[in-house]
Symmetry: C2
Subunit: 701 residues, 2 copies
């Protein structure tokens, strides 16, 4: 154990990092809520427990006031020894799962000397110490869950010096380079770095369809075969290329295979324990059939999503068509906004309800690991977003345009009913006409308006909110007579921490979702308006910076998680790329040539042609995918080179240690003992048997 | 280097293995051809070189007469030291590529003591010594290639005792167990063992469609929707299950990731050498664009395959239809065999030519590694086989049945022309009728007759050939006055070796091909005749044993190659499983309900329904695949358990070595130093600051 003592100095070096200095050497802040109602005693008892469990895992804590009903617990590693042993365990684990090529040195002190603990590693391990289940050696604190329901959040403090230089640097350059990503990785972990790497690659790849789309818009017009095929091929190339790039980045960042290490979920409920068939240790068991039963609820969930959102859309759609194209009564110019108002007020509510329901459902599915939980949740969120995002366009393209005229009789009924109810004769049934520009104007909305609104909602509003709330809280605190003033030396620091405690937790999944949905618009519908990719390109340049600002200014600093890929979003991208081939080919078939499309009459549609087009598009997609995958497989990459280099180095060292300094040159074999005696005799009939035969005589055998 | 001396005893223990004793301690036999024509001096010079290069890599050799124009070179390891260093290098390589979990011991002697050299390992390494390029430390002998064109074959000798007990054991049991596969693996390497494991799994899985197909044949009849869907689902389940099983077997056999180790091809031609960006060593370089240009030749190759075979089929098909259903002249009963005779005589020739061409093309693609070469060759062979095997059924189902009546006018022309040319009036144009049983009788042919013929061709004929040729050669040798008689002690042994030298090289790809083609019949066409799976089940029971016999009796002993999967055939299976969904759904749609199908009139076909069916079948396939993959991913398996156990063992050992004997129990954290001092003061307003703050004062910072 004396080795560990030696390592203390190395691990606690982390505390000398510049960043921690400005943060008063605090590793984490736990924001603890103390309600002023009847629950106060329970919350206070929980707080005592909190301090106790933190102490048990070697974390020192100190308490300050948050706002009037909460406390801030500052946590710092007290037992560097225990942290060191946890880090060592993790490194060993990494090696066993092939994340690292070589085992950590058996001498712990030397191991930490060779590979000093990085800031991200320290923060991650401390977070795990706080949150891991007790039987895994952690304190088992799960924010907002069960007995820890008063723990509002656990967060590290922002490094403001880094943040401001980061935002400054990014807002003055067009492209990010590897160094930029490395900085993100060092500060916020590979999980966030992968998001920015993806964004950057996606942005760079978009240059091509943006230019091509612009040219197509000038020359080819809408619904061009060429544009549609080129975009589909592009989406396949981008998807396959990213799959390779992702692996490459993981190798370069030393996190390859990290996803194979499963982190147990603290909230996992087990039915009973069974001994592991391998190690004999007790393992928590939850019957998979029971989980399957819960998972099957996904099917009614998906159906009800479709029904709820579909009904809403059809309702608004009906009103819209009626108001814009049939109704001609009073207030027409105001009434036409009705559907937009209904949609934009109900949709976010419905979407939030569904997302919440998805979270509850995933919670009930009771996964054993965080990864499985996350993957299942993301799948559900993707389904919700797929439906909310693309239904309007699907309805317009495949219902309104081909079947629009079939609505005519119903519109007449509504119109005459309205006429009867109304005393004025102002509701005149106009001659209903399919609006051929409907699809395009929708697409423009999604490609431009919605993206601008989104940036505003994501960055401007949280920033304003922060400023206003901070001012308000400061005022309130200074007016409240019960508040005990901060020590002057701490005041500024504590104010900053209070501000950060009020911020949202950054969820990278929200940003991925947005980009994946955008990729879907591009892949599925951009043939409607070939300027779409150009608009997205511009948006993404801003998005990349606004996401950085979101992390730096209006979110708590993220926990530096590791990851070796963009995770379940990869499947979503693949699905959209495939779906894009089908949908865009169908769109071009329906509306290409004559820009009016089927003009509301389904008998105008050549169904056989449509189906053949879809089939053909799909096989083209599969074929392209096969070829692109093969071609990319042939290309060398920095990650692969790094892997080869590591292998070569270890091989060389080991061979030289065992076989001598010339072991890497394989061309000098030793002279065998019997070799020279062999002469070509058998052929020349001089002798039949060689002097000393290998083929033994019976006696020799 | 003294360590290596110690290992000599361990490695040369291999020579004491029972098997090698009966084979006079010979590791390999090289069969060298000495033509009696003008090339004789060249061949003799080559022979001298052969002995020299063998000697250089530490192999002793001894020469005996083969037949009248060939020599047998018996090769045995002379420098155990060099072999040991090669084995050690390979084990190290395995570890670097994650094939092994732990590095070989740094003390070579100890390493060989812990893991003795197995028979398969020794044979594989000796073969590599003989065939590896010189700069990789081998002798660089490539049979039948370039300067080694007189080397006919290089083969190890059969272990007759094992072979006879093997054949005896397998012919008396219904199912093979893991032990049986382990025996195969020990003798013939994982490559052959994987084939038998696949066969065994395929056979076991076939029990279900055989039973279901039998029931469907009794109750549902042909072209049943239910049967078709069940078979499609079955093929998806089997394919996904095998993918998992394959990985599992590789883990259990300790060959996981072996495919990542690339074996350089001896025949690789490089244009120039460039320094490796990683190691700085010179690397042979062949421009990928140059290879791509050759690879593009695959497209005209595939097209000419389709054209050549398609034309042949259509020609025979036309004759057949004419003769059986229109012609009524003399010799009708004999003439109806004409197409069969043409097909069965031309098809093997054409197939051989195409295969040979595929080999040449692959050779010209000049791959750097054996795996890439093999994969490319197998893809081409699969394409040829796909076309030769399924074209007759495709033509009958999708050309003859729907469009048959359109042939009528042409048949009349032929008939009347024939009538004019013939003096007799015996060619009467019968009323042409689509034969609704044509598809079924073809299917019965492929499912029963062809399989029986195949077993005969594969086993009986080579066996008879072997017996006859051996007798003939013996006779001839005894009559030839120039032959020098063998030493009496060696005669029997040499006769056996001469027999084995005349045998074919066993190519596992041939056997895979047969099974994959069979899987295709099952998956694509078995709804035509639901007894197909039952017939295949019976055939495969025999096939499994006859393949064993083929290896034991009529092939040279295979080189014990390693592999971690069935390789490129996996893709072929996946493709056929996918294609099966499309084709069988189309068949059922066309011919289900009324057994006559479209009855020769294309206007009877509901094209929209057909296309929708195909689309639906495809999405059903993709959906099922997704679900089955997910479900199988949840299941534990012996291979995964073994991986976990290895990891747990190493982790335990290392943690105990470094952190003390209790390191695996993570529940005992140390008591921190500052923990106890923390009390819940801030809440109670008694004190605002804790005794020793973590939050440093400005001075402390």
């Amino acid at each position: 154990m004396s080795n560990i003592r030696k390592t203390l100095s190395t691990v606690s070096d982390g505390a000398d990092l510049a960043e921690l200095k400005t943060n008063m050497n605090v590793d984490y802040v736990i924001h603890y809520n103390i309600p002023s109602n009847k629950a106060k005693p329970e919350a206070e008892a929980g707080f005592v427990q909190l301090i106790e469990v933190l102490t048990k895992v070697g974390l020192a804590s100190e308490v300050r006031y948050g706002d009037e009903s909460s406390l801030l617990v500052f946590v710092k590693v007290a037992s560097n020894e225990y942290l060191a042993s946890q880090i060592y365990r993790e490194r060993l684990q990494d090696w066993l799962f092939s994340v690292r090529a070589s085992a950590p040195d058996k001498d712990i002190a030397k191991s930490f000397e060779n590979e000093p603990v990085t800031e991200a590693e320290r923060l991650r391990l401390v977070y795990l110490l706080i949150t891991k289940p007790k039987n895994e050696g952690g304190a088992g604190i799960a924010p907002k869950k069960g007995r820890w329901k008063y723990v509002t959040s656990i967060f590290p403090l922002h490094d403001n010096a880094f943040n401001s230089s980061w935002i400054k640097a990014w807002s003055t350059k067009y492209f990010l380079d590897e160094e930029d990503l490395d900085h993100i990785r060092d500060k916020f972990g590979e999980s966030v770095a992968f998001y920015f790497a993806f964004m950057q690659s996606y942005f760079a790849f978009q240059l091509f369809p943006a230019a091509f789309g612009f040219a197509a818009w000038l020359i080819l017009g809408r619904y061009s075969w060429l544009y549609s095929i080129v975009t589909s091929l592009w989406s396949v190339v981008f998807f396959e290329w990213w799959k390779k790039k992702e692996v490459d980045l993981a190798v370069q960042w030393g996190v390859r295979n990290v996803s194979r290490i499963e982190h147990p979920r603290t909230q996992f409920q087990w039915d009973y324990e069974v001994p592991d068939p391998v190690t004999g240790e007790p393992v928590k068991y939850y019957p998979p059939m029971k989980r399957l039963r819960t998972q099957l609820l996904q099917i009614p969930f998906a159906i009800s999503c479709v029904l709820a959102l579909g009904a809403l859309y059809i309702f608004c759609f009906g009103i819209e068509v009626f108001l814009t194209e049939v109704y001609d009564g009073p207030f027409k110019s105001y009434l036409t906004f009705t559907p937009t108002i209904i949609l934009s007020s109900i949709l976010p509510i419905l979407s939030t309800i569904l997302t919440k329901f998805a979270k509850t459902l995933t919670e009930h599915e009771n996964y054993q690991t965080n990864d499985a939980h996350q993957a299942s949740l993301i799948t559900k969120i993707f389904i919700i977003n797929f439906i909310t995002s693309y239904t309007p366009l699907f309805l317009s393209a495949f219902v309104y345009m081909p079947f629009g005229n079939l609505m005519l009789p119903y519109l007449h009924i509504i119109a005459s009913t309205a006429r009867k109810l109304s005393t004025e004769k102002s509701i005149t049934a106009l001659d209903f006409q399919i609006n051929p520009d409907r699809l395009k104007s929708q697409m423009v909305y999604f490609a431009v308006t919605a993206q601008v609104v989104n940036v505003a909602v994501e960055v401007v509003i949280p920033y304003l909110k922060r400023v206003v709330v901070d001012k308000f809280q400061e005022k309130r605190a200074s007016l409240d007579p019960k508040t005990i003033p901060d020590a002057p030396a701490e005041h500024e620091f504590l104010q900053r921490v209070r501000e950060e405690a009020r911020l949202d937790v950054y969820d990278v999944a929200v940003d991925y979702r947005e980009m994946v949905v955008q990729f879907g618009y591009l892949s599925l519908f951009s043939s409607i308006w070939p300027l779409t990719p150009l608009s997205f390109l511009i948006n993404n340049w801003i998005e990349l910076r606004s996401d950085a600002m979101k992390i730096a200014m209006s979110s708590q600093r993220p926990i530096p998680w590791r990851s070796d890929s963009i995770g379940p979003w990869l499947n979503a991208l693949g699905f959209l790329s495939w779906m894009g081939c089908l949908v865009s080919s169908a769109l071009v078939f329906l509306f290409g040539g004559n820009s009016e499309g089927p003009g509301g009459d389904p008998s105008n549609v050549n169904v056989i042609g449509l189906l053949l087009t879809i089939l053909f598009a799909e096989y083209l997609h599969l074929g392209t995918q096969f070829i692109v995958r093969y071609a990319l497989g042939q290309i060398d990459s920095p990650g692969l080179q790094k892997e080869r280099a590591t292998r070569y180095r270890i091989r060389k060292r080991l061979l030289e240690e065992t076989l001598g300094p010339d072991a890497m040159k394989e061309t000098v074999p030793p002279t065998p003992e019997t070799g020279e005696r062999i002469v070509l005799v058998a052929l020349k009939n001089e002798e039949r048997k060689l002097s000393t035969g290998i083929i033994g005589t019976p006696e020799q055998m």
